[in-house]
Subunit: 308 residues, 2 copies
């Protein structure tokens, strides 16, 4: 990271190279013109987009082989004009602007009734599947609710039907009480190593107050608090685990499903220090070499030492 | 591959180094003593086993955090004494011996009523998560039915309830008829690129006759036919796709579930030419850069040219 310059002429996400990307769909600017320098955060369609809002809407069902046309959107959130930073090393205010940009795009896309879900994610490093170093996140707006989210919601609903409480709220209460997998918590958020961690250093950021949808619930004050917690969590990983490659994924309710009582939005951060192989692929069971309780204890200690 | 010697003194899976592994649980030998040279296929517990048959059987349910002790088995099937081969380059007779060894172990483990499922898989190459070059497969016998298999079965059952036919048989009929994703087929097996391929060069090997369980159904004649098909499929990938890293996974019915009518055992082969990132992790939806119809056409052509 340190060896990269602050600006590169050949990086499409660097300031001054705005013509190297498709035209922006959103930007935080102080009066400067679109697709010109002078932005703080910039959102552009992915040049190699998986989905597009200009695709024709079409569903085909020839027997079992249902296909749906590539309607949707695949966007890149360029998090800073500075090439050699990462979300962990940016000031909290900048992280807050990134979250605001994400929220704006999600709210805009939510107005399209054909969009069912917006997946927001961040790939950091080659092992996490990114090819561009310049700090960025991505969002993919899909016309269907993805399998993984659907299953998560189904399980949460089943738990609610049995116990009349949100499974995440329930889990949070236990994590807060035992503290053994807790890394840190603030008034608004808890950061902990999940009980059934799949990967070494896997972490979850969970709002302490019940809320199903990031889009529907996130207020200004909460976004500021989340920016601080997200930055600190990533900086802790950056320092205590030697800048690991990772994927961070926002899990939130589908745009048009009423699962307000039993689902709970959260962020999953999964460092890529190990390679899932045939067993994980086939079974969905993950073998990890790290004990979450030990990981949490180590991170708590580092948090103190580094005074983050 | 070509640069590796046929034998390495420091490889625990090479002939003559039998003391470098835990004692064997099974071997195909012509009268030679256990844990000595003179074997054709050898099965040993994994030195870094995820599960063990000597673990205490224990289930704990402190509220939502259920744990189960590491009861089960994690075994390595050493496929040949020769260090510098791979399953693709071995003679069919040797592949058949490997399949027989797998079958034997599955049948033995099936007698333990605490074992619910046996996952058989092969990791080829570093990107597929293997650390040892010497050709080997693995099996993990689990006390629970893995999530992915459970979901596959649930979906298959739902399809059967609606249509009164096995979804795999139904899919096979369509694939055989259209032929556009078919790579090749024999009297007993069909090899094709799945309609919803997640990865470039993903392939499925499906028995043409309905059969839920590999363990229950595989007869001698069928095993010989499968050995030939598996070897040819892997050799085709090896030659036509330049020896890609891959995971191969056997999907078969749980040992004690009666899903005979609606489940159908098969082998999934997933080359690791791309890295699943945040989107795949979060959504369960896979973006692939290859069109299965084009992959199949290319492989059919290569199959002809290479006369495999």
């Amino acid at each position: 990271m340190q060896e990269e310059p602050e600006h590169r002429d050949d990086c499409p996400f660097c300031e001054g190279n705005e013509t190297q990307t498709p035209p922006e769909v959103y930007a935080l600017r102080d009066g400067s013109e679109p697709n010109r320098p002078g932005w703080k955060v910039r959102v552009v369609p992915n040049k190699f987009a998986a989905l597009s809002l200009s695709a024709r809407w079409e569903v085909k069902r020839p027997e079992v082989f249902t296909t749906i046309s590539g309607y949707g959107s695949h966007e890149v959130i360029i998090e800073t004009p500075q090439h050699n930073q990462t979300l962990a090393t940016l000031p909290t205010e900048q992280v807050q602007l990134v979250l605001q940009a994400v929220l704006q795009r999600m709210r805009t896309l939510a107005q399209d009734h054909r969009i069912a879900f917006v997946q927001v994610f961040r790939n950091h490093g080659a092992a996490a599947g990114t090819s561009l170093i310049h700090p960025h996140s991505q969002l993919i707006a899909t016309p269907i609710v993805p399998t993984n989210i659907r299953e998560e919601i189904e399980e949460a609903r089943r738990f609610y039907d049995d116990r009349v409480t949100c499974v995440y709220c329930y889990m949070l209460a236990q994590e807060m009480e035992s503290g053994e997998r807790m890394v840190f918590s603030t008034d608004h958020y808890a950061v902990f190593a999940p009980f059934a961690s799949r990967f070494p250093f896997e972490l979850m950021i969970l709002p302490r107050q019940h809320s199903a949808s990031f889009v529907a619930e996130a207020r200004e004050e909460q976004i500021a608090a989340l920016a601080d917690v997200l930055r600190r969590t990533l900086l802790l990983l950056y320092r205590a685990a030697n800048n690991p490659d990772y994927n961070a994924v926002l899990h939130t309710a589908p745009l048009r499903d009423s699962c307000m009582d039993y689902y709970h939005w959260h962020i999953e951060i999964v460092p890529r220090l190990t390679t899932p192989a045939g067993f994980e692929l086939g079974s969905g069971i993950f073998i990890t070499t790290a004990i979450p309780e030990e990981t949490a204890a180590y991170l708590r200690e580092q948090l103190q030492q580094l005074s983050l």
